[in-house]
């Protein structure tokens, strides 16, 4: 098969809708258009049936029961609902929340907003491998702690936190445990009982479903978690999320979950071998390349690497027929390099030099071969252009230089 350009290798940002998902959704745009809340006619019943089928598919993927799935507009909404919903529900029990500095902004900014309302939030640091330990959580829990929220897989560096151990600690201490599992559910095995998770956010478009739909797992037994809704209205989703259900999107989410469950073992092995091929193809050829985050405790499709002495955005320009992302400040709206990489203690200069490759379902070996060639060529060219590379070759210690810009 001929190589088709540009190549998509940014599967943490979003994924294409699987054609099987799209075909499943298709009739729900025009033919089966009913409102799932219409209880008195065929159109409504059909929509409701589709919703309940999707709910089962989502629940099956994570070992939950159907009644524990709340559909939302996506993982950002799920995170907001989980965190603010718990805070508002349980504020009489305590005012303390624990999270980590490398969380997604949907979690961090929800926590910040709660701080303004008087809650206290502990932002735990992570190790240089990006991981936190269950002991860190245990030590941070006080008798005022009402919520621990720790993501399962990081969206930038792909590291997978020890969720089962953290879940165990939270259960022992009787603290509600939320995990933003947006990058994990559908990508790695996830079971709410084994992990002792009380709340889990997920999203369809990260797992080959459509954008604009996601879900929140809300535990119903041991303990029963109750949330104060963000959205008031018709009392949909057991009162936790009012608003007419996005039937088409939810059907897509369900199908995406079903496919993920069936194909995960085979797909993970394939994606992992592509990732390793890419990693070796780059690191065996180019010196001074560093993997960011734990080398093995990470998503099979994630490779986040820093190419020392080469600035990330210029590297993206050099491989402009391959879609990846960078932790470089120049690629962010804030002009700050990645806060996740900074939290790992990666120097700012290496944060500026980072590239995130996200491999997924539709990547091929040919694409990886092509990418290796393009990356290596671009890095070598940019290093020839780099005064830092030249200084290092001359034996200058860059850390000892008094930079004019500082």
């Amino acid at each position: 098969m001929a190589l088709k350009l540009p190549i998509y290798m940014d599967y943490h940002a979003t994924t294409p809708c699987d054609p099987r998902v799209f075909e499943t959704m298709r009739p729900y745009f025009t033919e089966i258009f009913g409102n799932a809340a219409s209880r008195n006619h065929q159109f409504g019943w059909e929509a409701e049936e589709a919703i309940e089928n999707a709910r089962r598919q989502a629940a099956d993927l994570i070992g939950a029961s159907s009644k524990e799935i709340v559909f939302t507009s996506g993982a950002t909404e799920s995170d907001n609902l989980a965190i603010k919903g718990v805070a508002e529900m349980y504020y009489e029990r305590g005012d303390h929340i624990i999270t980590a500095v490398t969380e997604h902004k949907a979690v961090l900014d929800s926590c910040k907003k709660l701080e303004k309302r008087g809650f206290r939030v502990t932002y735990l640091p992570v190790g240089s491998d990006g991981l936190i330990s269950a002991d860190d959580i245990k030590n941070a829990i006080t008798d005022k702690t009402i919520l621990v929220t720790i993501m399962m897989a990081n969206n930038e560096i792909g590291v997978i936190q020890p969720i089962a151990e953290i879940g165990k600690v939270c259960k022992e201490k009787g603290v509600v445990f939320h995990t933003d599992a947006t990058q994990a559910i559908g990508k790695v095995p996830f079971n709410v009982s084994e992990l002792n998770v009380d709340l889990a956010s997920f999203s369809a478009h990260k797992i080959y479903g459509p954008k604009g739909v996601g879900g929140l797992y809300v535990r119903r037994k041991n303990p029963r978690v109750v949330l104060v809704p963000m959205m008031d209205g018709g009392g949909h989703e057991r009162g936790m999320r009012s608003g007419t259900l996005n039937v088409t999107g939810i059907v897509g989410l369900g199908k995406a979950c079903e496919i993920a469950k069936q194909e995960m073992p085979v797909e993970n092995e394939r994606v992992f071998s592509l990732r390793e091929k890419l990693r070796k193809g780059i690191m065996d050829e180019i010196p001074d390349v560093y993997v960011n985050g734990h080398p093995t405790e990470r998503l099979p499709g994630n490779l986040n690497v820093s190419f020392a002495y080469v600035e990330g955005e210029s590297l993206l320009m050099g491989i402009n027929d391959i879609a990846v992302s960078s932790g470089s400040a120049c690629t962010s709206a804030s002009l700050e390099p990645s806060y996740v990489l900074k939290a790992l203690g990666v120097g700012e200069e290496l944060a500026h030099s980072s590239i995130r490759f996200g491999l997924g379902r539709f990547n091929t070996e040919e694409e990886v071969d092509y990418t290796i060639g393009r990356v290596n060529e671009a890095v070598n060219r940019l290093r020839e252009l780099s005064p830092l590379w030249e200084m290092v070759q001359e034996g200058v210690d860059l850390s000892k230089v008094q930079w004019a810009g500082e």
């Binding site: 600035e311 210029s314 320009m317 120049c330 005064p387 004019a404 810009g405 500082e406």
Partner: protein, 140 residues
């Protein structure tokens, strides 16, 4: 973010990449920016001692495409100018020529700073008899 054609051209075909011997008394070296900020430019000018005209210019840049383009363009503009004329190059002219968006204006500022630093280094060399230690060029 879309780049202008001129930025892409300079990025793909950077002019005057390379280095002169920074100890050469006819060479002025400017090194500006910092790795932590994501931009470091090294810009060098080689001046004919008789005519005081910049005969050649070279650069190396660690930074985004706009930073590379700004410094590449600067070396093009520097050649054939007198030292005084070199100092007349303003960042706004670079912004205009490369069509830089507001968020990339700092790249052009850095290029202007690099020109000034290179000229200063050259002028300092002319007033001091002793060859400066290696660190001094780095400090420029």
């Amino acid at each position: 973010m879309a780049y202008s054609d001129k930025v892409i051209d300079h990025y793909n075909n950077p002019r005057n990449v390379g280095s002169f011997d920074k100890k050469d008394p006819s060479v002025g070296t400017g090194l500006v920016g910092a790795p932590e900020c994501g931009d470091v430019m090294k810009l060098q000018i080689k001046i004919n001692p008789d005519t005081q005209i910049i005969e050649d210019a070279k650069f190396k840049t660690f930074g985004c495409g706009s930073a590379i383009a700004s410094s590449s363009l600067a070396t093009e503009w520097l050649k054939g100018r007198s030292v005084d004329d070199a100092l007349a190059i303003k960042n706004t002219a670079i912004v205009k020529e490369l069509n830089l968006p507001p968020v990339k204006i700092h790249c052009s500022v850095l290029a202007e700073d690099a020109i000034k630093a290179a000229v200063r280094d050259y002028q300092q060399k002319q007033t001091t008899e002793e060859p400066k230690p290696e660190e001094a060029a780095v400090n420029a």
